[in-house]
Amino acid sequence: MDTLTLSRLQFAVTAGFHFIFVPLTLGLSVLVAIMESKYVSTGDEMYLRMTKFWGKLFLFNFALGIVTGITLEFQFGMNWAEYSKFVGDIFGAPLAIEATLAFFLESTFIGLWIFGWDKISKKLHAAAIWIVAIASSLSALWILLANGWMQKPVGYVLRNGRAEMVDFSALVTNSYGWYKFFHTVLAGYVVAAFFVMGISAYHLLRRNEVRFFKASFRMAAAFGLVTSVLVFITGDFHAIKIATTQPTKFAAMEAVWETQKAAPYNLLVVPDTANEKNVVEAIGIPRGLSLLAFHDGNAEVKGLKDFPKELRPPVMTTFLSFRFMAALGMLLMLLSLIAWLLSRKDTLESYPMFLKLMLIVLPLPYIANQIGWIVAEVGRQPWIVYGLLKTSDAVSKAITPMQVAGSLAGFTLLYGFLAVVDIYLLTKNAKKGPEVLSPIMAKKTTISGNQEA
């Protein structure tokens, strides 16, 4: 394999692995913050135990999200030096701002939160986790504005052989980035909702800590319902954005070969990429696709055949990823609704089948998040910056296939090992359930040493 293929593979592996941890961090930080606020406002110890139990699971995840994030920043320079040279003037800014504005906040206040239980007031302690939660989403905003620029480059001119920034506000207000932000962050919140519901279901099935896990489940169900509906709505707006700015991606997502007006939406489609047509197109909704693409039933949807073959993304991957993501999105919305309705009654534990189901579906939002990124990134190919720079022109010139093969092997081994450790610790601690807060335990948190220098 050549440097380009290996570097792409490595970016896919490292970004995909990073994004196992990010969605849960985004969502669970908010849920833990809500729990701790409830403890502060009600004084109910159950909420303190909730904060500690879910907080502990959150922390495994947070640490891995942080360390795997460094890899991505380094890789832009290590593997994609030509890209970095070409876009650094405009793409470097949001990354540097992310570190300065958001990452410092996250990493400083997480330390305060972990170690500060007996050092700062209860309110300040709850504020610390809120800052972590908000800073995590703020972090996502700047990263997604950077990615949004790769999807829809704005505010630049081509000068001195590179893309130079001429309008910072265009970068910051790039609607593509904002749609991506809301869609992605909300999808992360859904991951957290199903994470909490799944683990709560596990304990409720065993009648373990029923009050505790019912309260957790109820909170997560409401959170999941609201966020999964919002994921759907933002996804819909995001799709219009794609149809207008990246017609090739949209055509690949829906496997549209011929340009047509008032295009129908076919529920069942089997593409035949070799012959550039769909073998099966059934259960059509008249004008559905035009409506989806432009919120206008008569609008014209561009087909793939309008574009030269070398400018089309891999159709099958994009199409299947999008279909599965959308189907999972709908399913998660439905499950959240049922979960919310059942959790409103106090008889949650009398629906063992549903609880089992909620445990089984725990990985689904993770999968939806991963394939969502496949749609976004594979669907943009062959471009690394849409319409501006090809991925094949972006790879570093100074590195050899041997080097990248070595680093890819290293990442795969290291990340594989981390995944095993993470799953082991998460499962063990999730199964163990919350700890009992006796006065002695509470005392133990106190690190003494009043001897000042």
Binding site: F60, A93, T100, I114, F115, N160, Q403, S407, K444, I447
Partner: protein, 342 residues
């Protein structure tokens, strides 16, 4: 002042602050394995950096991000030329972060001991490799119009290795002084003794570094042109002497402050010598990456200057507050062995 010069200074400050802050984390990481007589002592050392190491590491990401935003060509070439060395640093930083976080997540001496070993190695490697990388940057990389003509092994030249050893000793001393200041009892005493002893090889290495720099690099040229700049290395040397003076007296906070200044001034000495290069070419100066031929556009630099001037002081303020919240010394005798979250 020219924007490129402002960003050169900011670039230097970000790296210097990173080395000053994460330097003691790395030092503590190396030392905990050897200095701790039991699990409680090792736990106390790790706990002493627990609330702050993560925030310290972000200075590295910001230094990296700032290089990307302000000097994209340097960022691109430096990271791709030093691919394997940076990869090793990256793997180490990942393992280090995981070790700190996971060590206390499970009961059992074997589990903890393994993560302590991992923590030690993954702290040692970045300390060494950052030194090797910066030594080679001071010296210049073999690069011309064709690209880069080196590899991991050409980086391991005598000057690069000397700088690496210098960094390791600096960070070990820095970490020992931190432990001596932040912990109580015999652990603190032992850390202070270690800093006292290791100071001698540090001094010898520092002298060797200053002498070898004369022969291996062009760093002194700027100082000879503008002799007043010699104040920077002189301050570095004075601070290095200060470490010993305060450490012998048992003034651990002052000794630690002196080692902070040493690290800052050592970094500034190197960077002052580099100016206006970011990475000199060892083949021909015309291929050097300078702040002028590798910078972003004035517009981007202006935006980034505003961002830095508004937010970096804020970061310094809340990080300082965080240190203040955790100002109490940690007594290994009070370590329960079962920390709340850790």
């Amino acid at each position: 002042m020219e924007l490129q010069i402002i960003w050169f200074i900011l670039w230097a400050v970000l790296w210097a602050v990173y080395f000053m802050l994460d330097g003691f984390d790395l030092g503590v990481g190396i030392l905990q394995k050897f200095l701790g007589r039991n699990e409680a002592e090792r736990g106390a050392m790790i706990k002493s950096i627990g609330p702050v190491w993560d925030g310290n590491e972000v200075w590295l990401l910001t230094a990296g991000g700032a290089t990307f935003a302000a000097f994209p060509t340097t960022y691109a070439l430096m990271f791709s030329y030093l691919y394997t060395a940076l990869l090793l640093i990256l793997f180490s930083l990942i393992v280090r972060g995981v070790s700190v976080e996971l060590r206390g997540k499970e009961e059992g001496a074997a589990w903890r001991s393994r993560w302590e070993t991992a923590f030690c190695i993954s702290s040692f490697l970045p300390a060494l490799l950052f030194g090797v990388a910066f030594g080679n940057i001071f010296k210049g990389l073999p690069m011309d119009a064709e690209g880069y003509h080196g590899n991991l092994f050409t980086l391991l030249n005598p000057y690069g290795l000397l700088t690496g050893v210098f960094f390791v000793l600096l960070f070990i001393t820095h970490g020992a002084l931190w432990i001596s200041y932040k912990t109580a009892g015999s652990l603190s005493k032992r850390a202070s003794n270690l800093a006292n002893k290791i100071w001698y090889p540090l001094l010898v290495t520092a002298v060797l570094f200053l002498v070898h720099t004369w022969f291996a690099t062009h760093l002194y040229a700027n100082f000879l042109d503008v002799p007043v700049l010699f104040v920077v290395p002189v301050l570095a040397v004075l601070a290095l002497l200060g470490i010993k003076i305060f450490s012998v007296k048992g003034a651990s906070l002052k000794a630690f402050a002196a080692s902070c200044i040493t690290i800052l001034m050592v970094t500034f000495t190197g960077v002052t010598g580099l100016f206006p290069n970011l990475i000199p070419s060892s083949i021909d100066p015309k291929y050097s990456l300078t702040i002028y031929n590798s910078s972003s556009s004035p517009y981007t630099l202006k935006i980034m200057t505003v961002v830095a001037l508004v937010f970096v002081p804020a970061v310094i303020a809340y990080q300082a507050w965080n240190y203040w919240v955790f100002r109490k010394k940690i007594d290994p005798n009070d370590m329960t062995g079962k920390g709340e979250m850790y």
